[in-house]
Symmetry: C4
Amino acid sequence: MERSELEDLVAANRILAGHGVIDAYGHVSLRSPDNPKRFFLARAIAPETVQVEDILEYDLDSNPIEPKGQQSVNERFIHSEIYRARPDVMSVVHNHSPSVVPFSVTGVKMRALFHMASFIGDGLPNFEIRKVKKGSDLLVRDPKLGAALAKTLGKSAAALMRGHGSVTVGENLQRAVGRSVYLEMSAIMQMQALLLSKKITYFDAAEVKASAPVQDYKRAWPLWREKALAKAKADRA
Amino acid sequence: MERSELEDLVAANRILAGHGVIDAYGHVSLRSPDNPKRFFLARAIAPETVQVEDILEYDLDSNPIEPKGQQSVNERFIHSEIYRARPDVMSVVHNHSPSVVPFSVTGVKMRALFHMASFIGDGLPNFEIRKVKKGSDLLVRDPKLGAALAKTLGKSAAALMRGHGSVTVGENLQRAVGRSVYLEMSAIMQMQALLLSKKITYFDAAEVKASAPVQDYKRAWPLWREKALAKAKADRA
Amino acid sequence: MERSELEDLVAANRILAGHGVIDAYGHVSLRSPDNPKRFFLARAIAPETVQVEDILEYDLDSNPIEPKGQQSVNERFIHSEIYRARPDVMSVVHNHSPSVVPFSVTGVKMRALFHMASFIGDGLPNFEIRKVKKGSDLLVRDPKLGAALAKTLGKSAAALMRGHGSVTVGENLQRAVGRSVYLEMSAIMQMQALLLSKKITYFDAAEVKASAPVQDYKRAWPLWREKALAKAKADRA
Amino acid sequence: MERSELEDLVAANRILAGHGVIDAYGHVSLRSPDNPKRFFLARAIAPETVQVEDILEYDLDSNPIEPKGQQSVNERFIHSEIYRARPDVMSVVHNHSPSVVPFSVTGVKMRALFHMASFIGDGLPNFEIRKVKKGSDLLVRDPKLGAALAKTLGKSAAALMRGHGSVTVGENLQRAVGRSVYLEMSAIMQMQALLLSKKITYFDAAEVKASAPVQDYKRAWPLWREKALAKAKADRA
């Protein structure tokens, strides 16, 4: 993988932290452009402190290729199992962004009502970990739980995780990151809309079809990336 | 156009970003003081990074006078068509400020209840793009959509755009910018008031008439402008 | 008045801005310790930029003693008329803090439910400007409106102003400033509590009596003041 | 106590302030690792300014071992009485974090619905000071009130304090601090969930049992501590 792609991933960690989508927790990965059975993910540190040298490469069993004596994140199976199940996915974000969690613990479906988050479509699936494992600490700690989450995700762009957070995927890193940022914003808007009225105009199927595939958050990415890498550089000094 | 007027527009971009009214998206334009058939608008970059040299001049068909090889924003037709339809308007802001969107997807009307946003009057129109184009990505990508939005706006100071955001206009730049800032704040206040009570005291017609025309956000502007241009200068260093 | 007292007032302007209680608007005054018929108030600039030399002295008709060619704030009559009506008051804050406005446009009374804002007691009065002047721009622009507001305030520690904001008073500057900060916070808490339940445990009369008179925000003030004056000094550099 | 443990406590003060869990008020203590009948707590200053030399040692009657002429916080009895009643507790945080207060003034129970705050379990007790002292200013100013609060806390990880805030405890400092941060976040999530639906999926008993004991906020702590101590160092310069 190119240095600039590793820097993209460093930036992604810091962008998500800067937007409050992830705090000291949460993680973002990138499938290797050279080998679809490998992905890159930072070791178990706070995302806003990630540097290039903190990134490890993993196989699809979530084994680090070179462990370098570093601790891996417990929930790396979220990433490996989604990459296994979804060949179209090149990037995965897992986070606890706060406004998505209330939807995950109620029967209320998130639906597309804001054009920056049209990927939500006519609803996102919600992962109920108890269907796979009762009495868990909610964490996706093994391949079985990861595979169950990937199955819940199906072909969607994102899935909620009950009492925990969400996972967002994309055909490229920018898309997965942008979707995480705007999923949180759309959750706030939908909660507010539901308080204002029982009757909301969600996007219709044709609008979802026209919007979602083309949204790459291209205007945002250069700004976000530049700021994030400037901060990464400053942190070294 | 004077250098100081271009700097006003640079400041406006950064002021709106600094207030969270626009993020990496959204845009603000200024009609040329020299030629009413021309307007100035930054190229397609994140507003908080705009500098004087990023500003392009357009005609009322949204063609750049000197393209300089730069990419124009897709939705520049919002600006050109409003300038065409509204000779009184000297500045246009388009944004996705988050608390306005919930009103745009419900039947609930925004109404004036806060003196800093008295321009809302007895309600703002809401642009439903499906009346003009079905199955769109919600973006105002051509003159026809721009003209339809301008028609929805009518004589109002602002219009909501369903599932997308809003457009705010003014007889000068300060007014369009200030209105965008306080439209967001008024949206929050109205949502909260509606949760507290079904019976809200909105401004009466006489109050709207007395308030709206005189509000130029004059005390705020010098502070906002100075901070924004100091940041623009620092960004060059 | 001592230099350190002028600096207290500079700090108060900046503390209120730093807490989001005032933005480019709002103002805070201090009655002269040397002459109860005089008070000090900054000229019409954004509060977060106030320096010692921006402070003017006024008589109780809101005439500046030495105008210095500076513009006075339009609403200085809020201050002069409250000082005239309330000999116990040494400081007045007027602001548009956002979470108080929703209460001002509904019939819902703010009541004490948080010990840092116990001064709210069993309810705050709400100034309806239309009872004095119909078709106004909501601003307290003359002595008559100021006197009407002072009458609405009565013996309370604060009064809401419909569709506009609030006024908060204190027997000293720290108290007026602290009350403004915690009035906003208590408004948020009360709105949330009302959404959770119809039955709220407000402070009883004995608790209000025990709490309100002793709360001087003494632990907060030195921190707030030091930060604010450090910023004021940095702004000069 | 080791220097590094005092620095942990300095960091804890600043971490809580940085997360908006405490403002100029609130406090965090650490039981002495050398003597279970002693604890460490900063003198009565704003938490975000605390340095190592501001920390005093207390006995379980809340008497400072060496007063150093410093003022102790009025509510130190919260700490001493909880340490007396709960031998397992090594750290206590008292705060006014804003989203917890609405629960404290309604009959609505906080319950676990977010895995980062699973310690909430099937509900937190709420301290009603009027059961012990009528007509108070709500502050826990003496050993009797402290003992009553400790009794209300019982074996829980946290207790609400009606109209005032909450207290959070832990078997170590990191845990007490992390619980305070995520208690606030969980309160926001629960309020939002309750607005979305009457039917919420809270954690079941087995999930609480699996989650709560192991959560030490270990990934967050090094990031939080490093930032806080860098700030403490910068404040000296």
